[in-house]
Symmetry: C2
Subunit: 197 residues, 2 copies
């Protein structure tokens, strides 16, 4: 058993014997996107973290050093790009929760953004990494929207069982590590079926 | 006459009487994108500046302060999003040059990225603000690619005359300030015309 630091600086045990031990969900997705780009399958990237820069020094010719900056609340989602001519937009979240995914993990305006992308004819979704199960689910925006609406007056999370029913289990492998485009292929077919000829 | 600082900290005179005096090209485009988003016309955003964070302090509960970070070379373009179901991707550049746009203003991998987006079925282009003329041109990626190929053995810039011939003049107004989607409408029509039925 090895201890890996998580984002908040505390430690959690990584399960040995699983394909993704020690690797952050973000790294797993970035690696998959690199695979897609280099194999000419898609062009999807993670957006940089939005930062408010306050102070920049120029100590040498070599370049600028940012000396004071703050994290900003992201106005959109983390990932977007293009696949088979479709605009792809998604957010990726992981949870150590065993029984549900708390909706507080995702900003309201990010959900609104995903809904908006769908309205403009894009394919948008949420990727959820259930660490306790070592399973990744792709949840289409229309279901996310339903769970979000429900949260206003009821349950504020998506149960693991609901996710199994409403989401798509994403196969994990070596290359690509998180082959979410296999699921997106189904969504592309749906998008074409709904297309007005 | 008013002096406005430009990005590099030096000063240049702003021309009074022009609609965009004092406003950076980036701000003009951001304002236009805000207009498109809030009027439900498109969903296009500027990506955050990519930064390598080295040191973060947590002085209080209020949040983190980035104390050391560096600018990274962007791996993609500055703007992307969706319009009329199409993936939109572009880079925006301004020049104070009077007779030409130097291709050194845009990174090689950004040109490659624009070409790649086009291959995947997206609409990609370069927006050039010719400050001396107070004119904005939209240059489709296929022309940008041609000028880029030429630059390997010949002229390393796009002349103003070439831009007038190969590019599309973008109308400037109040809202949206830079109505580049009017030109993209033409590209959408072309994309449909080239579509394999």
């Amino acid at each position: 058993m090895v201890n890996y630091p998580n984002k908040k600086g505390s430690f959690q045990r990584a399960k040995v014997g699983h394909s993704n031990r020690g690797m952050s969900f973000e790294s797993m997705i970035n690696e998959s996107n690199d695979y897609y780009v280099s194999n000419n399958i898609a062009n999807i990237h993670k957006k940089p973290i939005p930062i408010q820069i306050v102070k920049v020094d120029y100590p040498s010719r070599a370049g600028a050093v940012i000396k004071e900056a703050y994290y900003k609340v992201p106005s959109t989602t983390d990932y977007n790009g293009i696949y088979k001519g479709f605009h792809i937009d998604f957010e990726a979240k992981e949870t150590i929760n065993k029984t549900s995914f708390p909706l507080s993990n995702i900003h309201t305006h990010q959900i609104e953004h995903l809904i908006n992308i769908k309205k403009h004819g894009g394919i948008s979704f949420l990727l959820i990494f259930f660490k306790a199960k070592d399973e990744i689910y792709l949840l289409e925006t229309n279901y996310l929207e339903e769970f979000f609406i429900r949260s206003a007056s009821g349950r504020k999370s998506i149960s693991y069982t609901e996710l199994q029913v409403c989401g798509h289990l994403v196969k994990e492998g070596i290359a690509p590590r998180v082959d979410y485009l296999k699921i997106v292929d189904k969504l592309v077919k749906k998008a074409w079926a709904f297309f007005v000829w």
